[in-house]
């Protein structure tokens, strides 16, 4: 992304006001920081490298070969085996649950955030806001038993819909917080001129607030999508039949079944992570800002 930045070190006095404090003149390099960063980079890379190369090794050669050497005869057999054990179905389930939860979650959160910012003086909306803020402080996993009960009573146990509804609810507090922070930054005059033009609140939301806060919407969407895509506890508790599994759960049961076949297990790990990694390559900056949504603003 910002790779175009030249590597020359400028004294801050001549750099623009948005410039980073990097390269203060006469600075010695931060050796400790550099050492820890590079060390940790190695710690991050080695397992990932091992996972990827091993997934291309044949099970028969796996035990004999040097674990850190790339496969002498790369094979796709592990991937074939994983794909043939219904992974496309689990992939589809994950996709349905993620899209089915993220789109409504962001939509209702956006409407709520808009209402809280625009009508926040009202007692009702103030109460709603504090309720969502409270939701941020509570480990939602702790509510899983009643959620399980509710899903059973709604006859949604073992259905994708049963995964979608709690996922939406769990996504709402943080989404509302982040979105309302951004809607608050829209200049008041713009709302005022919309009002003078006779626009309704719904029109103002759709025509003014939404386009102006689109980056925040993207950020929140990504954050929620990642959380739900990777979610494990809800599918573990709320589904039962194999054909309702989402990827993380499928991964887990696949591992239980084929734990001896390390290359195949690792191929399944790579396959389930691949969609996110592709997204990461496409939009690294958006994804990273999505990950720290609301925390680093």
């Amino acid at each position: 992304m910002s790779v175009t930045q030249t590597t020359k070190r400028e004294p801050t006095a001549t750099s623009g006001t948005h410039r980073r404090p990097q390269g203060r003149s006469g600075e010695r390099p931060n050796w400790l920081g550099a050492a820890v960063s590079w060390l940790w980079l190695a710690v991050v890379i080695v397992p990932i490298y091992w996972i990827v190369i091993t997934s291309f090794k044949a099970q028969s050669t796996y035990y004999a070969s040097n674990p850190l050497a790339p496969p002498s005869e790369p094979t796709l057999a592990n991937y074939k085996m994983v794909i043939e054990s219904d992974f496309p179905l689990y992939f589809l389930n994950s996709l349905i649950v993620t899209i089915g939860a993220v789109v409504p979650a962001v939509a209702v959160a956006f409407m709520a955030a808009y209402a809280i910012v625009r009508g926040g003086a009202g007692r009702f909306l103030r109460g709603v806001n504090s309720l969502f803020l409270m939701g941020l402080a509570i480990p939602l996993q702790a509510t899983i038993i009643p959620v399980y009960l509710i899903i059973i009573r709604l006859h949604l146990y073992d259905s994708l819909m049963g995964l979608i509804l709690p996922s939406i609810a769990f996504a709402i507090p943080l989404s509302v917080l982040v979105l309302s922070n951004f809607i608050r930054d829209v200049p008041k005059e713009l709302f005022e001129s919309m009002r003078l033009d006779g626009a309704s609140e719904v029109t103002t939301l759709w025509r003014l607030a939404f386009p102006l806060t689109r980056p925040a919407v993207v950020t929140v969407t990504i954050y929620n999508a990642l959380t739900i895509w990777n979610g494990f506890l809800l599918p573990l508790i709320l589904t039962q039949s194999p054909d309702k599994r989402t990827l993380p759960l499928a991964l887990w049961s696949f591992q239980g079944q084929f734990s001896v076949n390390v290359p195949a297990v690792l191929a399944s790990v790579v396959l389930t992570s691949l969609p996110i990694l592709i997204l990461y390559v496409v939009g690294r900056r958006q994804l990273l800002s999505g990950l720290t949504a609301g925390f680093s603003k």
Binding site: P21, P146, P248, R284
Partner: protein
């Protein structure tokens, strides 16, 4: 999607707002409110209710007074789970925080290394905890894992089979996933520290170490609080990772509260006691969040700049 249907025109708002045309606004918050109440607030109240019942997860729910609470509070498993939870929290905080600050400050400073570092560095954040745990399980296998393959005895220990090793492994894997995230937060915080402060310190002859302790750390105070809050409250919910990696074992060496709740509820079918554990989990979470907020003195989400 119900998103843009105008329910506003059809009825009076549930509460009057002070704005004359505010009639539509409260309605816009209703869909989010309904879903959150249905699957957030009601379960939260429900878990308290269920802790006073006995239920096997399938049959009828019976009120049983304090039976579940008595069983849970008398069980030595509870103090143990609390202790393990606390240890996980403390150890993961103590390991991640210094490393994340160092890396974050470093990443904030140097353009050259950053681009190279950043690409791979953040990948662990994207992976599901289940995937990470499964990969590490294979990697750490004493017979077939990386250490065994390299024939390095030091690396081919029974990482997940001995209590202390298993605990350390959990802390390491947690850090493997989250240090990049917290580094990112610290990077953001460090970038907001104005240059002028460092320049002034340089004029006073302060060295790098001095500047780090006198400017960088104090200026990062709110970032530290934010990051620590996330770490500490987040550590209460390390379910996926521990469940897949060790399932609480060996024995109950890594049986944290969330896992204890799951095992009692969904494996032993004792939903009453499991709900009592869940209530304790909520209380611990709230207490920690309040405590950290108190330490911060004000809203940690607010501007991280102080005295700039």
């Amino acid at each position: 999607m119900t998103a843009f249907a105008p329910p506003a025109r059809t009825g009076p708002p549930p509460a009057a707002t002070r704005e004359a045309r505010g009639g539509v606004l409260p309605w816009l918050a209703v869909p989010a409110l309904v879903i959150f109440v249905g699957f957030g607030v009601i379960p939260l109240i429900g878990v308290l209710f269920l802790s006073f019942t006995s239920w096997d997860g399938l049959g009828e729910i019976h009120l049983s007074g304090l039976t579940s609470w008595r069983a849970v509070l008398a069980d030595p498993g509870l103090p143990h789970a609390l202790w393990v939870t606390f240890l996980v929290m403390a150890a993961s905080w103590a390991f991640q925080t210094p490393a994340s600050i160092l890396i974050g400050v470093f990443l904030a400073g140097r353009q050259r290394y950053r681009a190279v570092l950043a690409v791979v560095f953040f990948i662990p954040l994207l992976l599901s905890q289940a995937a990470i745990a499964i990969a590490y399980k294979a990697l750490l296998d004493p017979n077939f894992g990386l250490g065994a393959g390299l024939h390095i005895d030091l690396l081919s220990q029974d990482w997940l089979g001995r209590p202390v090793l298993a605990f350390s492994t959990v802390i390491f894997v947690v850090s493997w996933q989250f240090i990049p995230f917290h580094s990112l937060i610290y990077q953001g915080g460090a970038r907001q520290i104005p240059d002028s402060m460092y320049e002034a310190a340089e004029l006073d002859g302060a060295g790098r170490v001095r500047k780090f302790f006198s400017i960088t750390l104090p200026q990062l105070k709110y970032t530290i609080i934010t990051s620590s809050t996330l770490m500490v409250v987040g550590s209460l919910t390390f379910f996926d990772l521990i469940f897949v990696l060790t399932a609480g074992g060996p024995g109950d060496a890594t049986r944290v509260l969330a896992l204890d709740m799951y095992k009692r509820g969904f494996q032993a079918n004792l939903m009453g006691p499991a709900s009592a554990i869940a209530v304790i989990l909520v209380l611990v979470g709230l207490a920690l969040a309040l405590l950290l907020r108190r330490l911060g003195g004000r809203n940690p989400d607010a501007s991280q700049l102080e005295g700039a």
